[in-house]
Symmetry: C2
Subunit: 137 residues, 2 copies
DNA sequence: CCTTGACTTAGAGTTAACTCTAAGTCTTAG
DNA sequence: CTAAGACTTAGAGTTAACTCTAAGTCAAGG
């Protein structure tokens, strides 16, 4: 069990932002200690970290919202609540996001490869120049 | 050779934004037809697409700027201009970005796997329910 | 010749996503 | 008992990255 500031520290999302996310419905409200103070569980922490990853990979809060709510990913879908959208709708949303993420993954891969190439080239150059040119400008 | 609006169409970056990027120094100024109208080459288009990928994968313009300028990735580094930073500095910058992107890729991979799992689960459920439950809410 | 699409500068407006302030309450540990 | 850290609502301020408007110029095509 973690307080909001502890959760902030662990996840890298500020306490302010955690309350903000809760307010806009992006995060489920955590349980409260004696009905007063937020108590984040490991599961909550995990979920927050997951959202943070989605953000880091360039997804907007709006998209994340649709993704986690309608897609119900990582949230309880088997507890008999009647709030889940239809199966085929969920499949549609998840497929859409999957396609987008796979495209993004390809782009990222390409950039990583390019960067690695460039980097090896530089490093080779640095080695060669040990007896000859010098480096600093 | 492409006009700005053609380039916009191809790359998905608006003409406005192309001029904006040029203005803030993110894009090199393309050659002009009779010194007046921007003419984008295939190389320019390629570079713009590359920048767009960086953006899509969540990099800020500031980071992109540092990445493409100091890292000199995809830009001319072998034409005897004295503007390149030192080799070791470039290596440092590229390494830093590479680490960040690799972390991002790990996160993205994780999300993709999770999504794929969820999706197969849904699809299996959909198949099973062919004789029994029905789908639409 | 006039419309279309390119160009310019300068600056205003917008949207997303925070980020903070005010102004107050409550509770527990020292 | 008081300071620290939790909480509340309501709303103001900030930053990034566009996005658009104004108000004008210029050149080529139908």
């Amino acid at each position: 069990m973690y307080t909001i500031s502890k959760a902030a520290e662990i996840t890298g999302v500020s306490a302010h932002t955690l309350r903000y996310y809760e307010k806009i419905g992006l995060l489920p409200a955590p349980d409260r200690n004696a009905g007063r103070i937020r108590e984040y569980t490991d599961k909550d922490i995990h979920f927050i970290t997951f959202l943070h990853s989605l953000k880091n990979t360039g997804m907007s809060l709006e998209d994340i919202s649709e993704f986690v709510k309608d897609g119900c990913i990582l949230t309880k879908i088997n507890e008999g609540e009647n709030v889940t959208p239809s199966l085929s709708r969920r499949i549609e949303i998840l497929s859409k996001h999957l396609t987008k993420m796979e495209q993004q993954r390809r782009e990222l891969d390409q950039i990583i490869s390019l960067t690695q190439e460039k980097l090896s080239f530089y490093q080779a150059t640095l080695h060669e120049s040990k007896d000859g040119d010098h480096d600093e400008a």
